[in-house]
Symmetry: C2
Subunit: 263 residues, 2 copies
């Protein structure tokens, strides 16, 4: 596809990773907006772009406006961002937000499903990007743009994307929280968290090779009541972790049972 | 170290992965025990070992007896396995069980912390093995044996190993259950689970580079109440998942707060 002129609204983790990938693919980010001058300027410099801290100063003639703000900022600023630029194409990057959060005629979604950090640049090549648009022509433009940075482009409705985003919260944020709990537990007993890396990596790698439901191991999967009671007692000082332990163990067992029944 | 003659009590996932690694490292498994003849025979053939289904027929002169049974079988069979072989060294592989589950004079623990499947052979080289022994000479033997198959050997007491095993349940079984929930959720909306792989892999990889507590992202980490309320409503049909969602989200927030306070 030909080079696109892009305005980037936002300068956070998603905006940074995504815009660097777009520029690397040959597109031009002409302008970066952030409420915070420092963030706008820092990212604009990396992209050789202009920057602004005023929404009213956004240029009016870009090919695509990518809004990568928090959900709350997106909701409250959407109308102001699109106003006066009604013929332009706007997309947002928010996994859990409807396409209709934007109320301009040419609107879409460009959701890269990944966990981004400012400290850690993600290779975009295999990041799944979920797209949606208000009409077919714009869908083709958005799909083509996504295809310049990743080989994983999916069209998905706002309705189904809600569940996708929720699934991502489980796969990423909640599994990461399990790591965080383990880290604190180990630190309290003088064991470095790094001992967990091979286990964490194998658990992740295994999920590519077999269904996580089938690949499950551990006390709950083998219904080892004695170990489970003992481990619950070890958590007596932390009622939240104890409850998480009980709920997860019960649910491991009830999902295994329901899948046996359906076989 | 010189080649050890090993008796393997058990023929399940841990026994299989561990014994294959030991044989590859040049040791000899002379005998495999399993209650089930089929399992004993199958593994013995892979190891060019003898096999038996009778504990009383275990040879009496091996260098090390490795007991890789379920916790329940270990508890109930330990005395029978060690009886009449009091001068020999026995170790078990059960992460959550005390060294004193064995009541023979020369006893130890050899806990390889990994998630094992029969379908998926694990490369042992970086698997952390946690060891313990009733005296220093045997500790050196067990450490040396472990060092022939992995570069990650740690001495850890039974007391601290309980917490290690519990941390492993969180890192492995519970994060895997988060994947399993996501898989079912996606299947219900026609999205293949494979779209989650880059996210799962990045979440795992990131835990090597920064503390999972610091690297956390998502609605709970950014205190996005609107998204959290909406996602809870999406889970209305599944009270267990809804409770997991609420507990995990609350705990993500309270752990972030307590770490800010301690800074």
């Amino acid at each position: 596809m030909e080079r696109k002129d892009i305005v980037l609204v936002g300068a956070g983790r998603v905006a940074t990773s995504l815009s660097l990938a777009l520029v690397k693919a040959g597109h031009r980010v002409c302008q970066v907006y952030s409420r915070t001058e420092k963030s706008a300027k820092a990212l604009a410099e990396r992209l050789t772009a202009d920057y602004t801290t005023s929404i009213d100063a956004l240029v009016k003639d870009a090919d695509i406006y990518i809004i990568a703000l928090t959900d709350t900022a997106l909701s409250s600023l959407a109308r102001q961002i699109t106003r006066g630029r009604e013929e332009r194409l706007f997309v947002h990057t928010a996994g859990s937000m409807s396409i209709d959060t934007l109320d301009c005629p040419r609107r879409g979604v460009f959701y890269p499903m990944q966990t981004f950090s400012l400290e850690r640049l993600v290779d975009f090549q295999h990041v799944p990007v979920f797209v949606e648009a208000s009409d077919d022509d714009d869908l083709q433009i958005i799909r083509a743009l996504a295809s310049t940075i990743t080989d994983n482009v999916f069209t998905l409705s706002s309705h189904d994307r809600q569940y996708l985003h929720l699934a991502a919260v489980f796969c990423c944020n909640f599994s990461n929280h399990c790591y965080a709990i383990a880290e604190r537990m180990l630190n309290e007993h003088g064991v470095p968290f790094s001992v967990m890396w091979p286990l964490i990596d194998e658990t992740a790698a295994k999920s590519h090779k077999m269904s996580p439901l089938i690949g499950q191991t551990g006390p709950a999967a083998r219904d080892d009541q004695e170990v489970m009671r003992r481990q619950e007692r070890l958590l007596a000082d932390n009622p939240a972790w104890q409850q998480i332990y009980q709920l997860m163990s019960q649910d491991i067992q009830s999902m295994a049972e329901s899948s046996e029944k359906s076989e």
